[in-house]
Symmetry: D2
Subunit: 284 residues, 4 copies
């Protein structure tokens, strides 16, 4: 098992000496950097970096690191997030009828592919109640209609608060989240069953079949008010041919959805994803 670490995700206007400044902060406090990666977007004039160091031997207690770092970050106009690997994030999985992504995420978490506490499942259907029960995860059936969206989203928000959820994973939830909801709870990863921006919206596999594409894909992205337009975290594809029916595309797509969503969730939970503008930097 890895020793506990702290991770800083920083974005700030590019200027000379940033690497040294940030590294010196860690070093001056006795921290041993085990991973540091950076990216400069020259068009945006933006410097983005991820720095991970061992808490062992670090002189600052966890609750003082933020304030100490801020005294360096503020003058630079830097935005930053601080994460600790020994704080287990609490995850809610939202599903509809399909179980493949749900099963996959639960299995990977049990297999320690991520370090999450999956403590809540929300669905607009009752179908996957049994799966939740089988793994001892609380399941709430919150049916959505044209008319009840607003009050149901209030219930959903209350549940996220009650369960102290850090991340919502839309594991084939198949419902649009309101802009208002996303403003109140922005940490949402969605899996879209196409190679965005191709086939935005409904029934992408049917439309891919009609278009006669030779490759299909899946895209994991942060949910935004603008449907399927959020920052892309991960994508992958698989080859198809005229022999593949719509059902075959759906079947092949499920494998993509499972893997692409899992990679995106893992990168997010390891604090490797830095969002800026409508893009992501994924520090691998």
């Amino acid at each position: 098992m890895m020793k506990p670490t702290a991770t800083l995700l920083i974005s700030c206007p590019d200027k000379r000496g940033l690497v040294a400044k940030f590294a010196n902060f860690i070093d001056a406090n006795g921290g041993n950097i085990i991973d540091a990666d950076q990216h400069t977007d020259f068009e945006a004039g933006l410097f983005l970096t991820r720095i991970e160091w061992l808490l062992e031997g670090f002189n600052l207690p966890k609750d003082l690191i933020g304030a100490a770092f801020n005294s360096i970050a503020q003058p630079l106009g830097a935005k930053w997030d601080l994460h600790f690997s020994d704080t287990v994030p609490r995850v809610a999985i939202w599903v509809s009828r399909q179980d493949h992504c749900l099963f996959d995420l639960i299995w990977r978490n049990k297999a320690k592919e991520f370090n999450a506490d999956i403590s809540l499942i929300i669905s607009n259907h009752p179908h996957l109640q049994a799966v939740a029960a089988q793994f001892g995860i609380d399941y709430y059936h919150i049916p959505m209609t044209k008319d009840n969206k607003q009050e149901q989203e209030i219930k959903q928000l209350e549940l996220l608060q009650e369960y102290k959820i850090d991340l919502v994973v839309l594991a084939k939830y198949m419902q649009v989240i309101s802009a208002d909801f996303i403003t109140k709870f922005p940490q949402i990863i969605n899996i879209h069953h196409s190679f965005l921006p191709a086939f935005i919206g409904a029934n992408p596999y049917h439309r891919a079949f009609e278009r006669g594409v030779k490759i299909i894909g899946a895209t994991a992205h942060y949910a935004t008010a603008d449907l399927d337009a959020g920052p892309i975290i991960e994508q992958d594809v698989v080859r198809v041919s005229h022999r593949d029916t719509v059902e075959d595309l759906i079947r092949k797509g499920k494998d993509l959805e499972r893997i692409v969503l899992a990679r995106a969730v893992r990168s997010h939970l390891q604090n490797r994803v830095l969002v800026y503008g409508n893009k992501t930097v994924v520090f691998e």
Copy 2:
């Protein structure tokens, strides 16, 4: 070297006994089938097949095969094309300023990856004249403006006739072909520098960069009046990351464009591509 063969590409309403009927026609005339593949589109109720047999030992002379087969095809309402591997198709390559696809196609033809006679290069720019000269291929500079499209297309059509061209390959020609032209000469393969239907139209790499996609692609398709909407022959993709600039996407895209276009041209020249509706069956 392969022995000369005949190839039938057939599409007809699906009914019982088609495989036997077609196979018997070849067999009854002493033909030895070396490759036969089929596909049934159950939704369209369509049977599509490719049959290739050795001309050696076949009792019908080449110029009588069509008529003989038609007596079988007509009652079935079948559409069909007949091709002979010892007839070398004449190919025109249309280019703009970029040379990577042009070089690649010429190199592959010299390397016998296809069996084509590349006898004509048409460009709206003079830039690649030297390349044409270097390989001894006739080069015509036909500049296109908003105003002269119609008369220039007439010149282009005359050249295709003069050179008895069977296939036009748009190797980064970067110009829209008029619907009228395509009606008169439909055998046109285009390489589009994106993973269609994503980023239809201009500057796909810039838009892919802005969208922050994690994978880019290229698509080879038959040209149609509706821009970038023609039947797709081949697609492929390559992974990109935040580290890739627009220039990197363009560089990686060039490799995709070369390979995807070459595969599509090769499949077409081997008479493996059967178009129906807005789709292709590529018999590999």
Copy 3:
């Protein structure tokens, strides 16, 4: 749901008229061919074909088809297998300690990605008893040691007979099967956690890490006496880098193993795999 079909897998010495002969047999008995594919290995002088037709409207009862076809096959020196899509094959899954392939195969079968009756799990460890129980599948713990291999294999064979097993899937069983066992029960698919023939044998991920490869793979193949040398059914790969530890390779490899094994099992259960020599033809 697809209508019931019959499928013939045939390999015989290549000669003129085979396509017609086989198609006529189906046609003459009122069968409607829905899929026919063929391959000729010119070096081996071998013709290999897969023909699938609807049982509906076919004049021969299922139990007479074999004898009737044999009267055609025998003079041609053809080897053939006959399968019916409404006969559900009985599958045994053999496991060791790892559960990812087991879960995946069970999930896919429930999701109707294949049409199998998974009725038996055999393991040399007790670890996955609970998984078997959870899905109501009989589980037998048959520990293997250097000394007891022979008698334990007898037990295993008895179980395969008792459960009328058609196919054994080694889902990370991690034990060598004796040549004698394979002779008695040859229908065994194994997943090897490397891109064969690279890293044959033990600990491929550790050796891939030491070798510093940039891509790792997985291979599904039929088990043979010669370890990891059996006919390959399916392979796939994933890109890795210096950032990937051995644990990362193992994690990424699990995704490959699940998908590659599932594809191979599916192709086999759909009677799309024809073995000849030490190779396979997979009719897709």
Copy 4:
């Protein structure tokens, strides 16, 4: 065009504060770091990093940077290389009969995909003399036999010195280089036409065909005395099937060889490849 930069490739025993130390050296001398990447091999206890900064505004003249940095590096027991982006490396391409990699490298260099001076072609055959002439590159035909290897390698070394070559690219040279030669000139990149370590040695495509693999690959690596065992820089693969003849594998392999070799050469010329033990870190 990018402004001139300096790049340090450093490997040293891992200890606390290395990132800060190296960054401070650049910063203290007024350098603006535009790219910094690092990797820690915890098993080897080794810290590896690549730091690139703008020469513009850097206070040390180019010829003093090495000495200045060494005063920091030596106490740390660090190995390091210093490169300048405005020094154009001189490259020799060695070929045999096949031209696809040669054409590709020359084309990419003209297209500014790398920044190299390709000034020498050496071959054991006369076949590609014309290609060299066409692009105005000196070509030396140095035939190799069992008996003359030693004296011919002396000629080759003399040419490398005469032309001040920094890097030799074996673009399908198909000859083993002696251990003695490699000791004298270690900067050699080779393209091996298989997915190493599969099919080490001769005729990999024939052996891949016989083995019935479903995927083939290519590997670019640094040449070492031990044939095909050198540090791997880049690999890629392509899917094949039973329909592919040996000729098809060779054709598909050529596309892989071109792309894999080009990527490896580009990474090397951009000073992104750090070799340690028998492995590489490729800082992308």
